[in-house]
Amino acid sequence: MNTATAPESPKLTAATSGFVLAAAIAALFNTALAWARDAYAPLNGIMKSLTGNSWTAHCLADLVLFAGLGFLFMKTRAAEKIDPNRLIGALVGAVAIAGLGLALWFAFV
């Protein structure tokens, strides 16, 4: 990288910041939905009735939430105001909590 000719800019575009925030929220939602499906069997039945398989419905819910929130945050420029370092911290924290939350839940619950 040539720092002498390219000044550093800490800003992220509305699309980038919006989809990063959406990914952090969708990762946490994914784990919460996995817990809910495991703890409350009728939810699996409802999700299975929607797509024929509860896991397929889970995938679609995650993707719709990720894409929907991403476009919403991009249009409203809501996530653009968040400091990029905080946004990165939120994404790492969300993925770590979501991943460990899944492993610990299925190991001990």
């Binding site: 550093e8 800019s9 994914n30 995938c59 946004l87």
Partner: protein, 161 residues
Amino acid sequence: MNVSTSDAILLAHAGFGVMGCLAALWVFLEALNAQPGNAGRTRAAALVTAVSMAAAWICGGYWYIHFYPAEKALILQGPWPFAHNLFMETKEHLFLITGMLAFLLPVVTREKLDSNAAARKLVLTVAALIVITGLAVEGAGAVIEHGAKVALLRGGAKGDR
């Protein structure tokens, strides 16, 4: 040689997953040395990551729905039931996070990485998360397959007696 449809789909799932992890590692390395000259290559690698993970998702999802129930029953009757109860249950949900991160990568690599330190840090973070969660998912896949293998081997050994 007798390779069934189930075998081919399962191997394609694992193969595309590895390809996605390697492509994410490629993005990570390009971002470490971000210059105007490698921006196109970085975006291409991000696209390869997303496409590979999407293919792994489709192959894995199809195999999980159509072929896994029989293997699950085998694993649960074998000596390694945790291969399903812990590893498959975690894998089938953790992979969704890896997939979403892979779809995020082409979006974040559209930033000017050579002149934006925050964007470069973000790309490095997303690529690293894909590699870490992707390798965890690959490892879980190996444990699940070994769970089925020990169920067959030890079940077969019992049957021979």
